[in-house]
């Protein structure tokens, strides 16, 4: 470990991260570390800054202060697509897929090749692409729907498709914003299974409200409140923390 550069063994280390919107500090002096192969869930009441943290990591929002290091590489100055190319994938709260394209095309566009203008012009749909798309489609339960227009999928299937689009990028850190929102009970179970499966070889950060789901998947839980960490640890430890109970039940 090279202490001179504040480098760590963590996959992602967030230190002293602050962002303010016209004086309002949505994230305030936050320190957060993500291990390799960890499913780390962030919970917290509305407005706690959960989504903002994900936005900061993936470059959608610029930090006012602090550092975000991914494999000891500073992300705060990088542009979004560069961060993605480093190996950070991000799923949005509302399923954000290309509704006018087919499931196959949705996955194909996320395949990490031909990402420049010229590369996209000369991109060939070869056997490698086809088999990879089929493989991922099978993982996210969409292998029979490859030729369907994405707009016709159910809400839960759209969420899976977006997860699939991230998986095909093969990111080392996967960030999911409320992946089971709007899903049926059986879909939630399938998603939990999916998450446990895809975490092999990568870390996953999840923002979620559904406590049952969090219990099913989380290795470690961070509770955010007003842009700061309120509590951190296993689900059981966090649930027993009086500060957490106060925030959730106190008002």
């Amino acid at each position: 470990m090279n202490t001179l550069n504040n480098n760590t063994d963590f996959l992602l280390s967030i230190e002293n991260l602050t962002v303010s919107f016209d004086g309002f500090k949505a994230v305030n002096d936050l320190n957060l570390y993500i291990d390799e192969n960890e499913i780390h869930v962030i919970i917290g009441p509305n407005g706690a800054g959960k989504t903002t943290v994900l936005d900061l990591i993936c470059g959608r929002t610029r930090a006012t202060d602090g550092s975000i290091k991914f494999r000891n590489k500073e992300l705060t100055a990088m542009r979004e697509h560069e961060i993605v190319r480093e190996g950070v994938g991000r799923k949005f709260q509302n399923p954000s897929i290309y509704e006018d394209l087919t499931v196959f095309e949705n996955l194909e566009l996320s395949f990490p090749r031909g990402r420049t203008v010229f590369g996209a012009l000369t991109f060939q749909r070869d056997e490698e692409v086809r088999s990879r798309v089929r493989e991922i489609a099978e993982m996210v339960f969409l292998d029979t729907l490859l030729d369907m227009q994405a707009a016709l999928l159910s809400h839960g299937q759209k969420q899976w498709l977006e997860i699939g689009m991230l998986l095909i990028q093969d990111p080392e850190l996967l960030m999911l914003d409320e992946p089971v929102a709007g899903m049926s009970v059986s879909e939630r179970k399938q998603t939990a299974k999916l998450l446990n499966e895809i975490t092999k070889g990568r870390s996953v950060m999840v923002v979620e409200h559904d406590m049952k789901f969090v219990e099913d998947i989380a290795h470690r839980v961070t509770v955010l409140h007003q842009g700061k960490i309120l509590s951190e640890g296993s689900m059981a430890k966090v649930q027993a923390d009086p500060k957490v109970i106060d925030v959730y039940l106190g008002h």
Binding site: H81, V84, Y98, E108, L109, A120, F123, Q149, Q169
Partner: protein, 387 residues
């Protein structure tokens, strides 16, 4: 392109063949050279409309300044032709022989520096492509890198069209002012005003249009074509899939600009002059309506849309000049409110199923074209002939 089938569906192939047949066979047989020349003039606008299909229909970037690029291409061509027409012998009566007549009228005594290179045809041809491309690249980079898009982009491109028009009209000593650059005669000694030359230019224009259609088809059928649609619908998702969205937008904006410029250059050659009335706000937004009438998502529809609107404009403004503006205004509203899919949408709904029965072999279902996205309002395919 690995094979033809993935490059063009049968419908699209039919569309291209029909366009080619109309351009090269039907129209030359049906029209005298005066009408054919007029038709050729309309076709030069189709280049702009095809560019707008890629830029606006597919990519969601509405440029209200396509007249700028049409004009840049046209002016580059006109400058070359004007210099050729302004030999010292031909302009011997001027106080400064050897410079274009309008410069002489404005007491300019030497050819300005930016006119000098246009003595060379090679330079001119390069400039017709490079000048608009560079200009579009600068605008595109400045705007798209800063995430300016949608409405703001439309307003700013419109302002640029206004600025360029005022500039051309104001600097008449250098540009020919409001009359434009007129009285163009020969290209390398070949008289472009004879009937024979007009026929040849018409066919060159038609050939270029087919080439541009094929080129656009290549772009649309590549992954870039699907990325354009993706950028239009979910820009953030594309960005977070590792693409630099601004580069994609800059590319398609430049591509559309170059197409417009080719149209402009062919306009100058066929019509024999270029003026600011093809550059400004009004012509630029009319070019958008050509594309919209065609259905904004179909490159073939754009050709027919251009022809239909221009044919209507000529017919109505000759016979009922008062009605034409009402008609054009109503067309703008109707194409937005009543049939946003334009001609290609009508074709898709009513004619395509019938045509499919004839061109798809028996026993095979007309499979949906997988590599082409379905349009937000319906259709992406060939359009029915407008006339």
């Amino acid at each position: 392109m690995t094979n033809l089938k993935s490059f063009m569906s049968r419908q699209e192939m039919l569309g291209l063949l029909v366009v080619a047949a109309v351009l090269f066979v039907v129209m030359p047989l049906a029209m005298d050279i005066f009408r054919l020349n007029l038709f050729g003039k309309y076709l030069t606008y189709a280049f702009v409309a095809i560019g707008l299909v890629l830029c606006w229909g597919k990519g969601g970037i509405l440029s209200l300044g396509q007249g700028v690029f049409f004009g840049l291409g046209g002016y580059c061509m006109a400058m070359y032709l004007k210099l050729e027409a302004s030999t010292p012998e031909a302009t011997a009566i001027q106080s400064t022989p050897g410079i274009p007549d309008f410069m002489d009228w404005n007491q300019i005594t030497a050819l300005p520096w930016f006119w000098q290179p246009f003595n060379s045809l090679t330079f001119t041809i390069v400039a017709i492509i490079a000048v608009p491309a560079l200009f579009a690249f600068i605008i595109g980079t400045a705007m798209f890198k800063r995430r300016v898009g949608g409405v703001y982009f439309a307003i700013i491109t419109q302002a640029i069209a206004a600025i360029l028009t005022i500039l051309i009209i104001g600097q008449q000593g250098y540009t020919g002012g409001v009359n434009g650059i007129t009285d163009l005669r020969t290209l390398k000694g070949w008289d472009i005003r004879t009937d024979e030359a007009k026929y040849i230019l018409y066919y060159v224009n038609g050939g270029l249009l087919i080439a541009v259609l094929l080129l656009s088809q290549i772009v649309l059928k590549s992954k870039l074509g699907r990325l354009l649609v993706a950028v239009r619908d979910q820009e953030d998702r594309v960005r977070f899939s590792g693409y630099d969205v601004s580069n994609i937008k800059i590319f398609v904006f430049c591509f559309a600009a170059v197409l417009s410029a080719i149209g402009g250059a062919m306009f100058t050659l066929q019509v024999g002059f270029m003026s600011p009335s093809f550059v400004g706000i009004v012509p630029s937004i009319e070019m958008v309506i050509f594309c919209a009438v065609g259905g904004r998502l179909s490159i073939f529809g754009a050709v027919y849309g251009t022809l239909l609107v221009n044919w209507a404009k000529t017919t109505f403004s000759e016979t009922f000049p008062e009605l034409w503006l009402f008609g054009l205004g109503a067309l703008f509203i109707a194409v937005v409110l009543v049939f946003p899919n334009g001609l290609s949408g009508l074709y898709r709904s009513y004619l395509a199923p019938i045509v499919d029965r004839f061109i798809v072999p028996k026993g095979r279902k007309a499979e949906p074209d997988k590599s082409t996205p379905a349009a937000p309002f319906g259709a992406d395919t060939t359009a029915k002939p407008a006339e």
